[in-house]
Amino acid sequence: MTAGGGTAAPVIEATGLAKSYGPVAAVGPLDVTIRSGESVALFGPNGAGKSTLLRVLATLQNPTSGRLLLFGAATSSDAASLRRRIGFLSHQTFLYEHLTGLENLLFYARLYGLPDPARVARESIRAARLEHRRDDRVGGYSRGMQQRLAIARALLHRPDLLLLDEPFTGLDHAACASLEATLEEARGAGRTCILATHDLALGLSAAGRALVLVDGRLVLDRAAGRLDPVSLQRLMSAAPVSARVTS
């Protein structure tokens, strides 16, 4: 029994999911089910496979083996429709430094075919607290401002599944608090969030469920409320490569 044993519809169902780069196994094989509205923190040391797993879940990479269902559909069936329901924030911002903040959001709003993209872009930049810099080129933004704009980009189309890879990187305390509030709001709106982070305290406070990857294997799947950063760190350090899921 894992922490994900709820009754809501599964958003992610992975069975024997594995991703390899040539002879190097990056992820899995792993079995995991994440249900609608769940907020999951994904922990693990560098090279554990967190980013690769998120990219596979975002349909940016195909799994080498195993089965992956998103919203009940195979990722190969209608990838474009599935991508419309996914928001992804990577280590990189995906922003164009020669375009202004507003132009960046407008470009992505149009790319997603949103109705009234100009209004959506204006509202999003306001929510990111960047309205005063909206007509400045992104190249002139600080790292924290770029990260806030990148988060606004990922949320622009109100995705049902939000995949965040180290979203707190480069954010000051106020921006971290703002992002936590945004994640809480997303959870309140019934969105499913998966958040990969090295910040154990922030991850545990922002999520209801914790998954730990070590060497691509899922070694822990537990309710976040039953963990604290110290014991989690101890568990991660002690986890053997061949460890199995414990609840």
């Binding site: 429709s81 996914i86 995906f94 164009y96 430094e97 992505y108 790319l111 080129r137």
Partner: protein, 225 residues
Amino acid sequence: MTYWRAVLLVAARDVRVEWRSREQAVTLLFFALLVLVVFNFAFDFTVIDFATLGAGVLWVAFIFSGVLAISRSFQLEREQDRIQGILLAPIDRSAFYLGKVAATVLFMAVVEAIVVPVSVVMFNFRFSGRIVLVVVALILNTVGFAAVGTLFAAMTTRTRRGELLLPLLLFPAAVPVALAAVKTTTHLVAGRPFERYAPWVALSAGYDLVFLAASVLLFDYVLED
């Protein structure tokens, strides 16, 4: 979002980024003009008939500036991993390909629109009043070069030595369009009748069709890891 709106959106974004940065325009234009100057010094065109060498000179300038344009176009996507942002969007990925081709054709066309008149003055030749045919030949061959170049640039953009691989893959594949371009332009400069170079024009048109159609069909697979 309709297919063609996505194509226009990608092309317009490339144009807007270029308009702001002006990194590509300056490099392409100066490179093409430098080629003309070098050839002007290398050959005495008061003795050599421009029709013999001129088309080659022009297409050396266009093809190499085209490689720069395509390379820069995908550098834009590599930085900040922006291509992933496009791949995440619910659009047909071939629309992204056609948008990149359209932007590259536009950038090359701007260079050609400046370099051709400059070469007319510099080398003192005329296209014998066949401006429409010259424009058609330039467009056909530029589209073909941009189509194949964009396809290979997309294939190599996520590899470690993408910039090295691009010309290695592109030049052999671009041989037919380069030949057709040079031959058509040579006949145009010499003022020969259309019948003499019609097969080369047909080759260019066929090359465009084949590469555009194949790329649109295959582009989804090209971008898969």
